[in-house]
Homo-oligomer: 212 residues x 2
């Protein structure tokens, strides 16, 4: 398959594919001659994944490169390869260290302790997910909206259950590579699905309560 066909089949312009090749988010094709290269189905799959991560999950191209590098790094164990997506994620601007952040830290700690999230408590804010969560809670607190461990607990249990279900699904895939790729896709691409469902649920509930 040549570049043009790759472009046709993926719906991504050749210019953009060239850009992805340059940025290293797409591996180079097999060289046929000095100036021509051949691409295969694997490239097509990767290209579609990159597109989804960039356009749907809003992951910066540079971050996609890091994530995929870890996905392909067979010298790492499965946990780290799967964690790549979580650890490379853009945490946003780090929150200013004020009272709200301290309070947020306290509530998140309480929550993790109460529900026995041993790993999360152990590594604490080393985890980008942990820092992101604390920062997001602090933002709500700063605006004067309540957001304590009691309020978060039911959500925490629900997402915990989702995680169990999700990893069950991921384990169905036969090879480690497919499992890791599925974990990345599941982690990042399921987020818009979840948010879409949530927004739709809020809309539904609002209309039911207050009418149109």
């Amino acid at each position: 398959m040549r570049l043009a066909e790759l472009s046709d089949r993926s719906g991504v312009s050749t210019a953009t594919i060239k850009y992805y090749l340059r940025e290293g988010v797409l591996p180079p094709g097999r060289r046929i001659t000095a100036t021509q290269a051949e691409y295969d189905e694997e490239h097509l799959r990767r290209l579609r994944l990159v597109r989804a991560l960039v356009q749907i999950a809003r992951v910066p191209v540079a971050t996609v490169r890091e994530v995929l590098a870890s996905v392909d790094d067979t010298s790492l164990n499965r946990t780290f390869r799967m964690g790549a997506a979580l650890w490379a994620l853009p945490g946003g601007p780090e929150p200013e260290d004020d009272d709200a952040l301290a309070a947020a830290r306290r509530e998140v700690d309480r929550l993790l302790e109460r529900d026995g999230w041993a790993h999360a408590r152990e590594i604490g804010e080393l985890s980008p997910a942990h820092r992101a969560l604390t920062g997001a809670v602090a933002t709500l607190l700063r605006l004067g909206y309540p957001c304590d461990a009691d309020l978060l607990a039911p959500y925490a249990r629900q997402v915990r259950q989702m995680a169990v279900q999700g990893l069950d699904d991921i384990e169905e895939f036969p090879t480690h590579l497919e499992q890791v790729e599925a974990a990345v896709a599941y982690t990042l691409l399921f987020e818009p699905v979840l948010l879409g469902l949530r927004r739709l649920a809020l809309e539904e509930e609002t209309v039911e309560r207050f009418g149109l």
Copy 2:
């Protein structure tokens, strides 16, 4: 309160505040003289909300203007003012109309029908949330990952429950304006909290299953 104090108390630079005033996401201050204006606590609250929406929820400034315009529009009823945040949201690039999208539409329809989401089914893809959901599902399908009504059902029920809880909390606020503002904050600023929790849960579960 003058601009400089507003800046000090919010932690936002005067240049940025001026930019927000120019863009109309912050109402102008009360004019004292021809070249000076006075700001109050209301401005401070708004400024903090704008900051959170822009920096945390990644809402474009132009969209924030629209959202806040609806929030302040007392000629609309409560449902529409609350819905403002949901309807003004950036839907991202609209998905290409292929088999995956058709399949996604079918599964989302099945899901809403089965769980009795009457309103969502009625307005269908007029709702940005509905379109976003369908598009997100289609993305997963395009990549070859399963995402049908059966898989979505438990998540749908969970977010539905979250919506009920959320609106209960929102109804606690005494005035309509506060309820509407809380709805916007709850809709947009709770999303990073939820995603943070989910990512932490995935991390926790991954480590528990596969070790470090």
